[in-house]
Point group: none
Chain length 127, copies 2
DNA sequence: ATCAGTGTATGGGTTAACTAATACACTAAT
DNA sequence: ATTAGTGTATTAGTTAACCCATACACTGAT
């Protein structure tokens, strides 16, 4: 599950770990209620400091993907807890607003962005 | 021209400066042969250290957008038309990639983003 | 109560990015 | 030669990110 974690990568370890778990949740590989490896167990497996795993888990907890229960473990959250439609819409809008703002600052048109979006979205992998 | 440079932005000052000029060149807002503000002049205008402007100008010089002439100034280079398009595309793609990355981080799909984009820009995305 | 498991909190070391400060060197006009 | 403009080079301070080390606190089974 965590075989591709690479300490030499420019992207931080904790981010790699979190990203891997996000994907696992999104793809259903991890179901709500499932327990993640304990902080120490995963740290040992990856030959990494426990605090690094904590940082990954905490990020996931902040975003609502998992819940950390003191003394018990870390568990995948129920989807409805963070996936309510209105919230998704609001968050998406926030991101897009920021994008358009940045684009405007650079003098890029909405059309430029649209093309880029098509190109990127086209690269997406279907399963 | 440099009114949107923001010291509090997470993206570095020199990068903001360079990005703004890249697009200005790509869009023809700045023509080949045009002189950029001198390192000191721009630094003063932006209330920034000259070395910061230098870093921006140097990046542009490395990529062939400008030429720095010792004792004379910094000037816009001739950039082939196709390169200009590529540059605009590259900048747009950079922004969109970041957007999609943030979206994935929150568990948002490309579809969520597409909807938000349509709502904001009134532009249709086709696949 | 104890123990072995879990997450939590705090502080420190290392490194890299960013920005600044200062002195240097070239150019062109006088 | 001087001067006022230009870019260049080197060094250093500041900040933030990243990862680690260590001690703390909770939970559930014994």
């Amino acid at each position: 599950m965590f075989s591709d974690i690479d300490p030499r990568s420019p992207t931080p370890l904790y981010e790699q770990i979190a990203a891997r778990i996000r994907v696992a949740v999104a793809s259903g590989e991890l179901a709500p209620g499932d327990a993640l490896p304990s902080v120490r167990a995963l740290a040992r497996e990856l030959r990494v400091n426990p605090a690094t795993v904590v940082q990954a888990y905490r990020d996931l907890a902040i975003d609502g993907f998992v819940e950390m229960r003191h003394g018990q473990g870390t568990f995948i959250q129920e989807v409805p807890a963070f996936m309510r439609d209105e919230e998704r819409t609001a968050q998406a809008q926030k991101l897009v607003r920021k994008l358009l703002q940045d684009a405007a600052r650079l003098g890029l048109s909405a059309e430029d962005i649209e093309r880029a979006f098509q190109a990127e979205a086209g690269v997406e992998i279907r399963e």
